[in-house]
Structure formats: C-alpha cells, structure tokens
Symmetry: C5
Subunit: 301 residues, 5 copies
C-alpha cells in the first residue's frame, strides 16, 4: 500500500512511486515502437490498399472502456471487501478484549494472546508465509500443536472457543454471557471465512483473459489506425491511450488479490501491529510497539 | 472453475484452457466467412446502391456494450452470491461444530455427520446428481429415509434441529443455548433457501434473448459496414470486435447458473471436501481427505 | 415467468415465447413504415434543404442507452428484491415450522395452516385476486373473520402471534423461546411490509415517461437520419436499432411491477405450492401437491 | 407522488400531469429561441470564420450523460432509502403493536397512540410543518410537553421507552421481554436517525452545481453546433436533446430531497394514514379512516 | 459542508461559494492560455504536417468519462459511508442514553458525559486536532488519563464498558440487560472502527494518479485537437470541457477524505453539537447549546 502525504497537484503529475508505470514500462515501449513502425510504413502500406480507420477503433475503444470499468469495479470491490474484513477483525478483537476485561479480568492476557495469534496466523495464511515465529511469541509451546493443523487459524479460534466453554463449565459465566461472547467469536469466523473466500476464489479467469487480450490487441493495432490522421503525432497520442488502458488493466489485476506484497496490496503487517497496540493498551501494557509508518518510498506492507 | 497459477502477461495472451474461445469458435468462423463474403461482393453491391456505413453501427455497438455491461454485472452478481452462500455454509458448519464441541463434545461426531450430509446433499440437489452414495457414507441407513423426500437437504436440516430439540428436552441444554444454536441452524436455512432461489429463478429469459439476438445480428452485419473503409483489413477488425462481444455474451450466460460443471462454474466438489477437512480436523481426526487441487487443465470441479 | 430449457444458441435466435416481441410488434411495424416513407421522400425533402444527419442521433442514442441502462437496473432491482422477499418467506416458513416441530409438535399442523394462509393471502393481496377459496381451505370458518379486514395478511400474522402468546401464557414456552419464535414471525412482517412497499410505490412516474417519450421520438426520427447514408438498407438497420431500444424499454416496464400475471412476472402460484410442499413434507404428510412445472409455452404463473 | 393507472402506451406519450414538463417549460423555450437565432445568423457568422462543429459536443454530451447518470442514481438512491425508512416504520409499528397485544393487551391503546404520534411527528419534522393538531389528537395534554422540545419525535420515542421501563419495574415484563421490545423500539430510532440524516445532508452542493451548469451551457451552445448540418431541422433536434438532459437534471434535483410536497416526493400523508389504519385495525377498532387515494391529477401527498 | 438554501435555477448558474471553481481557477487559466497558443500557431504547425484531430480525443474523452465516473462513485461512496457512521453514532448515543434513563436513571448524566466525550474525541482523532479542551469539559480530571493513550477514543469506550460491568457486578443489572446494553456499546465500536478504516485507507493511490494525469494531459492537448475545426471558438469549448473534467476530478479528491475542513467535508462540529443537544435534552437539561447554522458563506464545519 502506498500512503503518500498530500502533495501539490503539479508535483503529483510526475510521481513515480505508487504509480503503475513500473509495471507497464516495457509494454508502453512496445506501443511506441509500433507507432514508429506505423509512421515509417505508412506510404508503403497505403499503396497496398490496406488501411485502418479510427471509426471501428472508436467503437471498440468505448466498448473496452465499459468492460474495463466493469472489471475495475469488481476487482476494487474485492479490495474493499478485504479491507472491510480486516477492519471488522480489529473491531471484533477490541470487543472480545473489552468483554474479557469486563467479565473476567484475570483472563484478559490469555484472550489477548489468542486474539493476536489469530490475527498473525490469518496474515500468514493469506500471504502463504511462515507463521512459526509469530505464533511462538504469543502461544509458546501450544504453537507447535497449532502449526500441525491444515487450518491453523481456525484451530486458534477453536482454542478461544474452548477457553470460553471452560469458563461456562466452571460456572464463571452464565449461559447468557457465554452466548454473548460466543457471538463475538462468530465475528472472527466471519472474517476468517470471508478472507478465505476472497483468497481461494479469483474473478473468473476468462474475464481477466478477455480484457487482457482485447486491451493488448487494441493497443497494438491502434497506431496503424491513428497514423493516417495524426502522422508525426501518432506516438504521443497512441502511447497516451495505451497508458490509460494498460494502467487500468494492470491495476485491476493487482487489486484482484489484495493480500500479497505488491504496491497496491493491503498493509497486513501494519494492521496486525495496530491490533497489537490496541489490545495491549487496553490491558494497560506500557511498552507498546511503534505505530507503523510508511518507508521512504511511501510503502507500508 | 479455472484456477491458473500466475503466468507472464505474454504467455497469458495465448492461453486456451480457461478462455471462452472453445465455446465461440464456430461463431467466430461464421463471422470470418461473412467478412470474406463482404470483401468479394463489395464491388457488386456498391453498384446496387446498397451500402452500410459504420456510423449507425457505432451507435448500436456502444448501446449494446452498455446493455451487455448491465447483463454481465447481473450474471456475475449471481455467481458472487452463489459463492457467498457456500462461503457462509463453511462458516455456519464451523460454528455449529465449534458449539457442539464446546457444549456437548460427545455428540460432536453426530453433528459432523449431519453437517457433511447437508453440504453434500445441497451439492447434489443443485447439480441434479445422485446423492445416494454420499449420504450413505455419512448417514448410514437413515439415508434411505432422507432420499425419499422431495427436499432431502431440508429434511437433513430438520434432523439436526430435532437432535437439538432432543438435547433441550433431556435438559442437556438451557433454552438460551438452544436458541443460540438454533440461530446458527438458521444460517443453514439461509444458505439452502438462497441457493434454491438462484437455481430456480434465472435472469428473465427475455434479457438473455434480447442481447443474444442483437449481439448476433450486429456481428453478422458488421463486416458489411466495415468493408467500405477497411477493405482487406475487414476480417481482422471484424473478428476482433465479434470476439469481444460474443465472449462477454457467452461468459455472462455461463455465470448465470453457477452450480453446473462448466468451465466457469463453482467447484462444489472441492468446497464440500474443504468443509469435510475443516470439520473433521476440529474433531482431531487424523486421516483427512487430500486438499483438492486443479487438474492439468487447471480445472477444479 | 418463462422457464425455458437450455436450447442451442441457433434455435434460440428465433424464439417467440418468452421474447418481448409480441408486445412491440405494432410499434416495430410503425418504425418500418417510417423507414419506407423516408426512402420514398428522400429526393423530395433533400430539395427542401431539410436534412437530418446521424451525428446528433448518435449523441442522443448513446445518452438514451445510458439512461435506459439506469432504468433497467432500477426495475430489475425491484424484480430481484421481490424474488428475495418470496425466497425469505419460504425460509421463514420452514424455520417457524421447524421450531414448532421441535418445541410443541402437537401444534405443528395449526402453524402450518396459518403459514400457508399467510402465503396465499399475500399472493392474492399482491395480485388483487380473490383469496376466499384458498383461505377457507386452510382456516375454515376463521377465514370469514380474516376476509373482513383491510389487511387480511397482517391479520393472519396476528393470529400466529396470538397463538404464540397463548402458549407463553399457559407456560408451555419460556420467555426465551417466545422471543426466539417471535423474531422469526418478524421475518414474515419484513416480507409483508417489503412486498407492500414494492407494490404501492412504483419508480417515479416521470422516469418511465421521460424514457418512453425519448425512445419513441428517437425511433420515429431515426429513419430520416439514416436514409441519406444507408438508402435501401434503412429499414433493416432502423428496425434493428428500434428493436433494441423498444425491447429494453418494454422489459423494464414489465419488471417494474413484478407481482402480476405477465410473461416476465414472478410465478407466485408455483411459489405458494412449493411452500405448501415443503411445510407439509416436514409434517410427514403423504399426499403432497405436484411440483409445479411450466406449461407448453414455458410459462409458470 | 404521482400514482397513474396503467394507460395505453400511445396516450402516455402526451401525459402532462406527472411529467417534469411544467418545470422546464421556460428553459425549453429559451432553447427554442436559441435555435431560431442560430438559423437566422448562420450565414452571418459563417463569414466571420466562427463555426462550432458537433464533434466536441458529442464528446461533451456523452460525458455529461455519464455524469448525469451518476447523479441520477445517487439522488434516486436517496429517494429509495427514504421510502425504505417509511416502510420500516410501518413494519416496526405493526411489530410493536403485535407485541403489546400479545404481552399486555390492556396497554395496547396507549402504545398505538404513541406510535401514531411518533409517525405524525416525524412527518411534520421532515416537512417543517405544524405538528400541534396531530399530536393533540393522539397525546392530549402531553402534546404540549412534547412540542416544547427541539426533537419532539425523539421525545415521543422516549415516552414509549419509559412506558416499557415502567412495565419492567412493576414486574409485568421479564428482562427478556423488555430487551425484545426495546430492540423493536430501536427500529424506530433507526428510522428517525436515518430520515434526519437524509434531510440534513444533501448531496454535496458542488455536484448539483457542476451538472446544472454544464447541462445549461451545453443546451445553450448546442443549436449553434447543430445548425450547420441540420439547418431547418435544428429546433426539433435541439429541443429534443435539451428536453432529455434538462428533464433528468430536474428530476434528480426533485428526488434528492424526497420529503417535500412536490410532484415526485413521497406521499407521507398517505403513509401516516396507512399506519393508522393498520394499527387501529389490529385493536379491532371499527371506524377506520378511508384508504388514501390519488386526486384527479393522480397526486397523492 | 455547504448548505445553501434553495435558490432560483438562474441565480445558481453563477454561484461561487460551494462550487469547486476556486480550486481549479489556475488550471483553467492554463487551459485558456493553451487555447490561445493553439490559435496563434495553427498556420505554423499545419505547415509542419503535424495535426491533431478530434476523433482520438473523442475516444479518449469518453473513456476518461467512464473511469472518472467510476472514481467519483467510489469517492462519493466513502463520503456517504462516513456520513452513515456519524448518523449511526447519533442513533447509538440516543439508544444508550434511553436505556440508561430507563434502567438506572441516577447514572444517566455519567453516561451522557462519556458518550459526549466519545463523540468529541472521535472528531478530534479524525481531524488530528487537539481534544484536550473538549475532553476536560466532559471528563474532568479523567481526561488526562485518556489523553495519554494512543487510541483515546477506544479508551473512553472502555470506560463506558467498565461502568456497565461495574453495574452488573454490583447486581444492578441482570446478565440479560448487561448483554443488551453491551450490544449497543458495540455500535460505538462499529462507528469507531469504520471511521478509522476510512481515515487510514485511501483509495489506492494509483487510481487518483492515473486519472489526475490523464485528465491533465487530455485538457492540455485538447485545444490543439479542437483548433482546426473550431478556430476562434476553441477557447470557449476547450475551457468548457476542461471545466467539466477538472471539476469532477477535484471534487472526487475532496470527497475521498471526508473528515477534514475543506468545503465539501462533513460538518463534524455541527454533528457533535447536535448529539450534545439530543442527549442533554433527554436528561431534561434546560440550557442547551444553539442549533448550528451555516455561516454567511453557507459553510458549516
């Protein structure tokens, strides 16, 4: 995730970090090359009676814009949904911590550990990274038991649920309060299930493919359609149009799977740290981790 | 469902598996044929004073793109809703299993069997396939009783509800906990009712028909409108435009009914296996089924 | 509602049942007539210096397409919402029946009767048809009392609520279970209130009027704008464009009020029968009604 | 709100009541005048070398259509949300009445009075009209106490809440039933808060301004761009396009604040009467008010 | 936030306050300058064989309009979501106050103080302003303890939760009522978590950048494409188109982060005062603050 401070509109025109330019640099160069070829061959292929005019490309371009807009809103919707789940995770963690502090304050640190283990485990599950170190920090020896499972995150939730059942069995909790806290554990289930759904189910492959291809072919043929009218200005206009279409296509692809480490993905590390700060502050811990800040390239992971 | 690993953008341009090309191959060939006819007859029908220009097709093409975009988002919305129901099924199953383990651990295996029978029965109901084998695996002799019903899936839910009522009647469950668990059984009802709604109620037939026809007629007449301008380039541009429109039309149709076995349908088999792995792992079973993986053509059913 | 079996794409091009053609036949003929007039008068009105070009119609056409797309998604949204309410009705009926069977099985037939009376009464209220016969079947003499009311459906819900209050007063139900069942009766309220909202509040009349008029004027003037370019091809292209626009306008209008008996309306009869099958099967009744099937013209009412 | 009976498509083309024509009559005349000026000055300003062509207007027109479509769906969304709140008010009133009848029938008339006072007070608050008369009818002397408050509607809800608290304190209600009824009073809070939010927060002023201005300037300049091509047909086409754009702009503005008394606003009077009929019928009152009907100009306030 | 009284459509055409003109004045002047340069250089660069035609700009313009429409609805969605959270805050505060008055009236003033401290603290947190003064007003000495925390708003919620837990521990509240009130405290958590989510997570930076750049380059090149057709009219049309695109781009940017003090941001001050009036009126306080009114430039902060 790129978090840039507000900057003047003029400076922003030339921003490099946070733009999608690095990802489409090569493809724009190809488009530039095509434009130059179009200019040099113009005379030659006009003698062949082959000509491309702009009108069909205009029709095609508007259609592609409509479809690209559709795909963009779908992929952006996934990004927003993913962010919403992590926002709900913070809310659910705070609520469970709040209830633990209100109902059985002695157990609050245990609840904190399980909630943090849940959050870090979810992050590692979504990023396919190694959860060992983080889980050991919060769960100690129990971590090995958890890591053996195929769904470690769900297993941690189960531990939380069993701590709660234990409280009820010992008579520390009435059935009412048990139900109330369990409903909040359900919120964790919702977050876990929702994130797994997003991660395991991309937008149907054919959509991406279809737009990827049409955008590509469109940008490749475009210079030949522009050159009879624009002549020497072809490269400028052609690269400009290609930039717009390729950027949106690339951006949509990045947002489709928002749990990775790419420029526009969610800063799960920072979110986990934020949950940790919140929960431990509620326990009145003093040595909290630092608030995460973007690095010099404005990135937050 | 096609689950492709990330591949280079260049290689992806030529992907065959997962694209809708196999479904529209024949219709694109027809369009190519039309283009060739248009080129050969150009001189002849110009003498007749018959000519088609691109301008009305441009208007029509943009309109069709807008309507196609509408139909696409409707059909895609159905696909997403179906996926959401199955995601909620996993969440509800985990929650009921978690509660069973917390409240009456001795009954957990019975709950697991009923939840798995529910999931498999729902899959077979949606795919109109034979549930006998799967239900026998989980329910034993009870399966025959279930299979006689017109709504077997609802009947399995009823069994679960009656197990719960039985617990309450015997005094193992307070009314509070009964209500709490019953609310989670309601989640199964929501999933069942929602899937039945999607399966029994297509998008009004006239929508699909209208777009099917206009896209078709449009693609058929298009070469004749392109040929006066583009001449020898007609086949290239005409097939390109037809590919874009026909693909989206075909894709929308496939996504409309997402419970089948076609390329872009939901992998219900894999989802059922996933629910099974999750529930049985919560019971600490050791011999879990394998995690489902896409086959060599990237398909997951 | 038209429920067509899947048919080959080619056959579907010529489908008559389920298309909106029957409704716009006359208006398309008018458009054809206009095209012929335009061809015959071309020479004459060109001498007058009056000419219509396609460019302003192109602008207008795209704008109308955008607005028509908006109206379509609004009207389709109403259709979907109506379907959702009836889906929720089925879910709520099953849940109440399930709870009745679990908590006081002796009363289950009474609950079934009230739920079925509620469903049929809602159907008749929405279709402004006579509920007498259906209500007598389920309520016997009580039906006359119900039919005297201005909101019979709400009155039936009140009976259900009073049966429940009675159970609580006699001590058969704890307050918890009373609350739990009453929450499910609330689902019936939501369905009733939602359907009444859709039925009593159309999309603002001015929207339909505006699009109706612009689509009309547009289709009438279009041939005169096409004829200078297309000449003898005018009728073909003009009728094609008019077909697209008029169909969508007509379809939107039909979907706006989805409770009637027109081609694209909801099959409320079939839905009521389906609820009946479900509830009576849960009571283990043997002689269930037949599952509703579309007639020879694929219609389901 | 205009509630028109279904009429033949042909008659509807000339409807006056319920259309937005009365509101834009003057502005359409201005546009007509501009068209005539354009025709008369055509020769003169062509000699000046000043000419406007349609191409930039086409680009601008489509852009404005997209933005107008956006504003329309936003404003229509507000209208729908407002209608939804009033639908929920009816549902919440029925539910509270149902619960009062089930739990303490003797108090039902008091609950009815408070619910009706709430509904009428909300109507008057949203329309900035005088609630005195209606409140006196339902609350008697208490009305004066209520009318002194800055948020009379919220104050009435507080009375209802205190009646409920009183019941609990006297031991007539268990905590469970208190909670259940209070949750339904929360529904009234949701309706009140939601309506206040809509009423106090318009769509950002700059949106309306921006579209208002661009639509205006566009319609004013349009005749000069059309006249070189269309000549004598300019007024027809220009007024047609202006009608489409101005109507949608005006309609969006009307729907933005749906609580007033304009043609397309919500019929709050009728809705209040409807709530009254429903609640009093549940009390078995005999002399109910008449069902509200549209007047001779199809209006319902 | 600009709250303008309704004004005549004609006067509104020239409104300055509340329009985005002040923010794009300089950039429109640049566009005007470009247009003049284009007019003066027309002859010169036509001799170079360099020419820009409108057709590719038309394609590009429509595409940019589609993408701008997408970004606008996303940013406006954030604005609406933020407003919704503050509406829900008012509802939750009223509900908690209502419950406090019903259940333990003696504590109502303490609840009021905590709710007001929560609201003001949230406002200051979102605006990065100094909460000291407001918190001291409501919390007295406790404020210092709160202000030491990294999440003061969450800490105030924790105080409320602990007051509630205290009541339960002392036996003033049954578990049922504890659960009911805690569920309403959860509503505060939802508001807090939701606002933090909006504030910490902008729309992916690349979106804004992409549109910012394309809109810019488009407006800069446009005069050169318009000048061959429009000649002396270029500045008028070019500035008009640039105004439309730049305004929407600027407005989207302002709405993206709705918690600031800019023209189109939310009036958090007024909303906090409104909550204060509501809660204190429910306690029957007499000296309420004045209802907030827009200043002479129609602004409400």
């Amino acid at each position: 995730m790129i978090i840039r401070p507000e900057s003047h509109w003029f400076i922003r025109l030339f921003a490099w970090h946070g733009s999608v330019l690095p990802g489409i640099w090569f493809r724009l160069s190809l488009n530039l090359l095509m434009s130059l070829i179009a200019i040099f061959c113009l005379d030659w292929y006009e003698t062949l009676g082959i000509k491309l005019t702009l009108a069909p490309f205009s029709l095609l371009g508007v259609s592609i814009a409509v479809f690209l807009g559709f795909r963009n809103s779908v992929c952006f919707g996934r990004f927003i949904e993913a962010r919403m789940f992590w926002g709900n995770l913070l809310i659910a963690c705070r609520t469970l911590q709040r209830l633990a502090l209100a109902i059985s304050p002695a157990d609050a640190p245990r609840v904190t550990s399980l909630l943090l283990a849940f959050s870090y485990s979810l992050k590692h599950q979504l990023r396919h990274s190694d959860a060992r170190e983080d889980l050991r920090r919060y769960l100690g020896e129990e971590a090995d038991e958890v890591l053996k499972r195929r769904s470690p995150t769900n297993f941690i939730e189960l531990q939380l649920s069993q701590w709660l059942a234990d409280q009820r069995r010992r008579g520390n909790l009435s059935d009412i309060l048990y139900m109330h806290m369990d409903s909040n554990i359900n919120q964790l289930s919702q977050v876990l299930g929702g994130c797994e759904r997003l991660a395991s189910m991309p937008v149907p492959f054919a959509y991406g493919l279809l737009l990827h291809r049409t955008v590509y072919l469109f940008c490749t043929l475009l210079p030949f359609a522009l050159v009879p009218d624009l002549h020497y200005m072809t490269p400028l206009v052609s690269v400009f149009i290609a930039y717009t279409f390729l950027s949106l296509d690339t951006l949509a692809e990045e947002l489709e799977m928002p749990f990775g480490l790419a420029t526009n993905h969610l800063p799960l590390d920072a979110m986990c740290t934020n949950i940790e700060i919140n929960l431990r502050e509620m326990n009145l811990d003093e040595d909290l981790p630092d608030t995460p800040r973007p690095d010099s390239r404005y990135r937050l992971t």
